[in-house]
């Protein structure tokens, strides 16, 4: 297929050229061929099929019979360099130094010698990094993978909830589903600490999103010092912000605000944090892959659960209830949205025991999807 060595050479030449400039910049990421194990280089683009040896262990077989084993371990994503070094030690010990990370932030060790698998798994476990999260599509057995998530109170300035803390609490509670492939279909969890939704909340099977519930409380002084009035006013999708040019500040029509926080992103003088009223909404039924059902956006099924650090029992309970209701009721290969649409959203609420409230009826006119989410037929279930 491709000549990776040639490409690596090209890259080296390119780097050498860039280095000639007086400021060595804009050279981009290192070429990936620097980091591929030999078996991959050899079989690049020539993989034939894969099998799941057990939860967390993939075997990919090439046309010529070569095989590579990937051992996938959970990760909190927030990693210490000291842990990374330990990963490196394991990679050296079992994988000739080769490892990768997945698009859901798990770490994968790339093994050629099958006998290294179990020792590696044991070492990882001992380190506190359990192995799992894969699926066997043929058998219709799926483990729960890592939650895609965001910064929360660890780094961001706009969160309505924490990220890592809730993820930890949820994954602890659902841990059995990470270690064993016992779900009927793919189920992706995600969390975002605010409506910016850095990550996949808007298209995940079950997700948690931080929301505010009180309007920004204008800090006139802050506005004067840090904000441009026109951009602040323009930042509001609901036209709730009015400039007071004389006072060099703004005023919010609090009845129009739906707490998106965009004004605060543009202007630090408009905080909208409220420890008691911030919290999490729960969304479900999003999907990314094109397999069977079309990709879809997530839908809100619980409007608000309060912030309950350190372990957010309210959020954890709801997520677990949804996951387990789906898992026990869905058919094999049937993702959450496929199940919900088959049984109908009326039954979804009935079966999960979640309460349907007016908040779940779209009234955000700015987004055109609102329209299509209203039911326009007499077809419904009692």
């Amino acid at each position: 297929m491709v000549d990776l060595d040639q490409r690596l050479n090209d890259w080296k030449e390119f780097i050498a050229k860039r280095k000639e400039k007086d400021y060595f910049s804009d050279f981009g990421p290192p070429h990936y061929a620097n980091f591929l194990p030999p078996v991959i280089k050899k079989n690049y683009g020539k993989w034939k099929y894969h099998e799941i040896l057990k939860c967390g262990v993939l075997k990919h077989v090439a046309e010529n019979g070569d095989a590579i084993y990937s051992v996938r371990a959970a990760s909190p994503r927030l990693l210490s360099i000291y842990t990374l070094r330990e990963f490196c030690d394991l990679a050296d010990k079992y994988c000739d130094g080769f490892l990768r990370f997945t698009s859901r932030n798990n770490v994968e060790f790339l093994i050629t010698d099958e006998s290294n698998i179990d020792p590696l798994i044991n070492d990882l476990k001992a380190m506190g990094f359990p192995v799992g999260g894969t699926h066997d599509a043929t058998a219709g057995k799926y483990a729960l993978s890592n939650m895609v998530h965001t910064q929360g109170w660890v780094h961001c300035h706009t969160p309505a909830i924490d990220a890592s803390g809730i993820v930890k609490a949820v994954m602890d509670e659902l841990f059995e589903y990470f270690e064993e492939m016992k779900l009927p279909a793919l189920c992706r969890l995600a969390l975002a600490c605010c409506a910016n939704m850095c990550g996949a909340v808007h298209a995940s099977d079950i997700s948690i999103v931080g929301i505010h519930r009180t309007p920004p409380l204008v800090d006139d002084d802050g506005v004067r010092r840090m904000c441009e009035l026109p951009t602040t006013v323009a930042s509001c999708p609901n036209a709730a912000i009015k400039a007071k040019p004389k006072e060099k500040t703004v005023e919010v029509n609090v009845e129009k605000c739906m707490f998106c926080g965009n004004c605060y992103t543009m202007c630090p003088g408009m905080p909208l944090f409220d420890p008691e009223n911030d919290g999490a909404a729960i969304m479900v039924g999003g999907k990314l892959s094109n397999a069977r059902h079309l990709p879809t956006l997530s839908k809100v099924v619980v409007p608000w659960i309060p912030n309950e650090p350190p372990r957010w029992p309210g959020v954890v309970d709801v997520v677990k209830k949804i996951l387990e209701t789906w898992a026990s009721e869905a058919r094999k290969h049937e993702r959450l949205i496929e199940w919900a649409e088959r049984i109908g959203w009326e039954k979804f609420f009935e079966k999960t025991g979640l309460e349907f409230t007016q908040h779940l009826i779209d009234d955000y006119r700015v987004t055109p999807y609102q329209y299509t989410s209203y039911r326009a037929t007499t077809q419904f279930r009692w």
Partner: protein, 422 residues
Amino acid sequence: MSETPLLDELEKGPFPSFVKEIKKTAELHEKAEKEVPVMAKGVLKQVETSFRDKITHWKHGGIVAVRGYGGGVIGRYSDLAEEIPEVAHFHTVRVNQPSGWFYTSKALREICDIWERRGSGLTNFHGSTGDMVLLGTFTEQLQPLRDELAELDTPFDIGGSGGDFRTPSCCVGPARCEFACYDTLEACYQITTEFQNELHRPMFPYKFKIKFAGCPNDCVASIARSDFAVIGTWKDDIKIDSAAVKEYAGQIDIQAEVVDLCPTGCMSWDGSTLSIDNANCVRCMHCINKMPKALAPGDERGATILIGGKAPMLEGAILGWLFVPFMEMEPPYDEIKDMVAELWEWWDEYGKFRERIGETIWRLGMSEALRVAGVDAVPQHVQEPRNNPFMYFAKDELVHSDIVKEFEKRGLKLKGEAGEED
């Protein structure tokens, strides 16, 4: 040569011809006792000219009305009035049809007699909204026409037009259909009569239509053509006559044509027994339609109400949105009357000029309309729940936190705090 060579082409062919109708009128009207010129002649000339020019020759009507009524007449003038004086005026009168479009020959003849004297002799049976449409007369004929219609044994009244409650209509329902889940004719009659004032005196932001269909087959197109669609449905189980099912088994492939086409897959058929998991039936009517002798709607009957249906002008077409999953439909229909009146009050206050109620709801949110009408939010309202987290929360849903107190201190009223009725 014919004066209408183009129109003549449309006399040919097997389907009934409107040109023949106009020509027939032009010919026969001549002989009648009448107070207007033979307008149909003018129509022939006018329409032939349009066929030649590929353009309409009718002008805006302005306001023409009869005493005490604001709507019901569509004014119309010809821009060829000088050449075609017969149709210098060509106003249309909308006459409120009887429920289900039932007539006796006696009543129809009486109307024809009046219209022969006082108008063009041309009609539409019926207009798209459902009215009997009397097509074309002069301004001075309008009042006597109305008065004569009112003086009939079974008097006929004017229908709606403009920003008012439009003439409601209904399917044939219990008069001749086994599927009717409520009395569409009586409901249509009573609600029309209840709101005569709103029907005859335009006072709304825009038009408002109600249509009554006896079952989800919606033979009166209510879901797309009325702001408030009342569609019959039921709550309990579909009634199955097993013997009759077996008879059908000889005629049709029940598995392929009925069971497999059920949208929820809630039916099963083992070759001799048909069963329905009614909890998953969405009452689409398919199976009942295909086997009317064997299946029938349940006994706990009423109607589903959909709101907002309309044509695309201006913000795009709307198919009515589910508003009330189930309403009992018994005379005197107080529930529906009250609800309509409440919605009108709200729409009158918040609706913009020329904004249909569906557009007002789209702008202000379905939750708002549900609140106004006193309907609880239920999953049945949505095809799927909202896909964005931009939700409103009213003050009474909030924790009384320090921040909320700070709002109070600053005198800022949070949503739902003041002015709004609970």
